[in-house]
């Protein structure tokens, strides 16, 4: 056997600046938290309790973002489509007064076909907008929001029978702005009660999330997962190897949309109230912000990023209003801060991503140069 005389290229020497850019976002948040926690004067048990609740509430939604990232489709802003599907399921379940775990399961069963249909639509649209997935799915979310409002605001109670008058607006059709989900409120969280000191742990929810994590780990090992990774890194090469690119991308979006539907149901059972016209809006933005804060990028995200992100993002949510009031005498500053930060982080992540792509491309070209280029 002959050994090639050239060793592997030297590990790229990126320097501190580049390394910092890769982890800039989580580092900023850790610093903010370290400063804000003492300022807020919250007790450790309070913080832990709040965090446990929020991790249970949000993780599933954020996890639903991972598969499209793997398939190279970026951050799936279209996950709000799934959230809407979940809410439609919840509206029917409330109307029919199915309570407890059966209510949640039924909501999921109703939401699934809606989410699959929306996911296929979204996937097909994104296949026609390759390279522009994020902005397309973002705008598609607005469009489908209009369709959702048409159904919920006009058709429900008119074309679609809604029997419970408590759900319907006084004019006779359309769903009320806020629906109290009393029948299914925290049923999953309290299914397996566990109390450690004064801290309550929503064990069942965590088990569902753990199951989801194992699903993702398993999925990555499948042929389908491998195909998605290939497509994510180089669509042209994957295509020439015979991988059905378009179909696989649709599958990735459908999986994400269906999981976002379940995630929204889990989120809302914890909240206990459904804001018919707003709940889904925030689902996308806050999930994506949390994932990015966890150190994910538009092209790379793992389970670790989800949990680090959810902890850092929500830690800031909890402490910022109180810290704001203690520091500035105004709680509003915290609320302002969290919206400001969500959008800011997403913008920063997009810029960093574009910059990294340019840098990688320049580096790839540099390797083609001869001795004259090695300065």
């Amino acid at each position: 056997m002959s050994r090639l005389d050239r060793g592997p290229d030297k590990k790229r020497n990126r320097g501190v600046g580049s390394l910092l850019a890769d982890y800039a976002v989580p580092v900023i948040f850790i610093v903010i938290s370290v400063v804000a926690i003492p300022l807020s004067d919250f007790s450790a048990t309070y913080l832990i309790q709040e965090l446990l609740v929020r991790i249970g509430r949000n993780s599933f939604l954020i996890l639903s973002l991972l598969i499209p990232i793997m398939a190279g489709m970026g951050l799936n802003f279209g996950m709000v489509l799934g959230a809407m599907a979940g809410q439609i399921g919840l509206i029917f379940v409330s109307d029919w007064a199915v309570v407890g775990i059966p209510g949640i399961v039924l909501a999921m069963i109703i939401g699934t076909p809606v989410a699959v249909a929306l996911g296929i639509l979204c996937g097909e649209v994104l296949n026609r907008a390759k390279g522009q997935e994020m902005v397309t799915s973002y705008i598609l979310g607005f469009f489908i929001n209009g369709v959702y409002q048409l159904f919920v605001l006009y058709f429900m109670g008119w074309l679609i029978p809604i029997s419970n008058p408590a759900l319907v607006l006084s004019r006779g059709h359309g769903i009320r702005n806020a629906i109290s989900l009393t029948g299914i409120r925290m049923v999953l969280d309290r299914l397996i009660p566990l109390q450690v000191g004064t801290v309550t742990i929503p064990v069942a929810t965590y088990l569902v999330i753990a199951a989801f994590c194992f699903f993702i780990l398993w999925f990555r090992k499948t042929k389908l997962g491998q195909d998605m990774r290939a497509i994510g890194q180089d669509m042209a090469v994957a295509d020439s190897a015979g991988i059905p690119v378009n179909r696989t991308r649709v599958i990735a979006i459908v999986i994400s949309t269906v999981l976002a539907c379940y995630g929204q149901i889990i989120f809302l059972q914890n909240m206990g109230t459904l804001n018919t016209y707003n709940s889904h809006d925030q689902a996308g933005m806050f999930s994506i912000a949390a994932l990015l804060i966890g150190g994910a990028s538009v092209s790379r995200a793992g389970i670790g990023n989800v949990f680090l992100g959810v902890v850092l993002f929500h830690l800031m949510f909890i402490v910022a209003p109180k810290a704001g009031r203690n520091l500035m005498g105004e709680a509003q500053i915290g609320e302002y801060f969290r919206v400001f930060v969500s959008y800011g982080i997403i913008a920063l992540a997009l810029v960093l991503h574009a910059w990294k792509r340019l840098r990688d491309r320049a580096e790839a070209r540099r390797s083609l140069r001869g001795p004259a280029g090695k300065e």
């Binding site: 290229d9 398993w218 290939a230 001795p371």
Partner: protein, 541 residues
């Protein structure tokens, strides 16, 4: 009894929109035989391989004539996947590896080993998990066939280019059915040692019964590796010869073909000893035309040609000098260094540029001819402007009279066929657009004129006119001109000296009157010996 050839091409022909690119190409290939396919750019090699591989571009443009017979059966592939299924593998020039995947994952891309599971029956095979150990073993086997030692877990992005080439070939070998392997310039990116290992590996594969079509511009390799050589020129088979009996000089002559016309006009211009442009250690990051290390001198009043095959970097040189792509090294004009990466600096120093990308970089397509001609002069030299009365040069307006005078003059002298100076550039024919580009450059009254592909995409009559214009301009004004062109004949007819670029370096510089085969040899990677090269660089030969 003669052996039935594995692959036989019978009278293959192909036309693209009435333009014949292949005519009556026939050859056959036996098991275990290595066929070297050589020819200049545009000789029809790629079209031939596209036909063999069932590329959609062929069926989309009206199919092809003739028959391909594989193992005694006439075949007509609808897509590359049909070709793969029939056992024809292809290793392309550009790498098709997934950067973040390991060697094993890339070799078995979409042909992974899977663990069986119940989900397969319910959904599809794609829900089976990958059998990583199985994949590793299979990949290692394929790599071993090649006789190299590459770890199956090495990530493609971290491999040196040489490794990548081997991984691509290993991928084709792993297909158990591969009977014919086509390699399109596999050694172009390899070091000498790597290339040698690759050639050994190919020989080993051929001994195992695989037939190989080897496309390369390096004639040395063709000669040492191949059993037979097929030379294509202008879509025709010029020679189908035994590799052992043909000399490299013969092959180069067959490829380039045409003999020098002796009616080359006598030059009236004078070339001084003064060096106008001096280039040292130049590298340019132009995608697809990377320049790695170029050095040459151009004398004042000289017409200097840069030739070479596509993708070797000849276009990168003028584009890099003008600052249009990231570049480094030293470029001096009349002894003073020119700042790179800033087109404005190059323009300020009296260099004018006619881009090969006429419609993209060369012209403001939607604007009038006269504005196109005067635009750079206006921007860079503040000409064709007039101050407002009283305000002096604080506010300056377009001087339409000056613009009209200038453009009328060029429209007349270059015979630009148009309805008038107000016609939009997009409405002109290719040849007339090119003349507008030249007028724009001439209007700058440059010290040095850099022209890329002056006759690309224009008809024969216009070609002659453009070249004559360049020659006349050089004679009248003594302007130094650097012409980059894919057409060697054109360079040899108009230039004083011609440099041939190969693999991003100057392979050699020859007087334009040198015999064609010497240029052919340079293009084929036969670098002139060091001493001659030194002399050629400075032009004191």
């Amino acid at each position: 009894m003669p052996e039935v050839p594995l692959l036989k091409l019978e009278n293959i022909g192909k036309e693209y929109f009435g333009n014949r690119v292949l005519a009556d190409v026939s050859f056959s290939l036996n098991r275990g035989e290595i066929l070297g396919l050589v020819g200049e750019n545009g000789a029809g090699k790629s079209t031939l391989m596209n036909i063999l591989f069932g590329m959609p571009v062929i069926s989309g443009t009206g199919g092809y004539e003739g028959n391909i017979v594989l193992d005694g059966e006439v075949i007509r592939f609808g897509s590359p996947f049909d070709a793969l299924a029939a056992g024809i593998g292809m290793v392309h020039q550009e790498f098709s590896l997934i950067p973040g995947f390991s060697a094993a994952e890339n070799i078995l891309l979409n042909r992974e080993e899977l663990n069986k599971s119940l989900l397969e029956t319910v959904f599809s095979e794609r829900l089976n998990t990958l059998d990583r150990p199985g994949m590793r073993a299979r990949a290692a086997r394929a790599i071993k066939t090649l006789g190299v030692d590459i770890g199956v877990d090495t990530i493609a992005a971290e491999m040196p280019v040489g490794y990548k080439q081997f991984i691509e070939i290993a991928r084709e070998i792993d297909r158990t059915r591969t009977r014919v392997l086509v390699l399109d310039e596999p050694t172009a990116v390899l070091t000498e040692t790597e290339a040698r290992i690759l050639l050994d590996a190919l020989r080993k594969l051929a001994d195992g019964g695989i037939a190989i079509i080897f496309i390369s511009h390096r004639l040395q390799e063709i000669k040492s590796l191949c059993d037979r050589i097929l030379v294509l020129r202008d879509g025709n088979v010029i020679r189908d010869s035994d590799a052992r009996s043909a000399s490299i000089r013969d092959i180069a002559a067959w490829m380039v073909g045409r003999n020098v016309e002796e009616d080359r006009p006598v030059r009236a211009g004078t070339i001084s000893d003064e060096v106008a442009l001096s280039v040292r250690d130049l590298w340019v990051d132009m995608p697809g035309e990377t320049v790695r290390n170029a050095a040459f001198d151009v004398h004042k009043g000289e017409i200097f040609g840069i030739g070479g095959l596509a993708g070797q970097g000849k276009l990168g040189i003028p584009n890099g000098i003008m600052g249009l792509y990231p570049a480094g090294g030293t470029v001096s004009l009349f002894g003073r260094e020119v700042e790179l990466n800033k087109p404005r600096k190059a323009l300020d120093r009296g260099m004018a540029f006619v881009s090969e990308d006429r419609r993209g970089v060369g012209l403001l397509l939607g604007e009038r001819i006269d504005w196109n001609i005067t635009f750079t002069g206006m921007q860079v030299q503040n000409r064709f402007l007039k101050g407002l009365p009283l305000l002096g040069n604080l506010v300056r307006l377009r001087d339409d009279d000056a613009i009209a005078a200038e453009s009328e003059q060029y429209i007349k002298s270059l015979e630009i066929r148009c309805t008038g100076p107000a016609q939009r550039a997009v409405e002109l024919s290719g040849g007339n657009q090119q003349k507008v580009c030249l007028a724009k450059a001439f209007s700058m009254r440059p010290e040095l004129l850099l022209i890329c592909e002056p006759t690309r995409g224009i008809d024969v009559g216009a070609k002659e006119l453009v070249l004559n214009t360049l020659r006349r301009y050089n004679e009248e004004y003594g302007t130094t001109i650097l012409i980059t062109s894919s057409e060697l004949e054109e360079l040899r007819s108009v230039c004083d000296r011609v440099a041939i670029v190969g693999e991003g370096k100057i392979a050699g510089i020859l007087p334009a009157i040198s015999p064609a085969e010497r240029f052919g040899l340079l293009m084929m990677g036969d670098v002139e010996d060091e001493g001659a090269q030194k002399e050629a660089v400075t032009g004191n030969a």
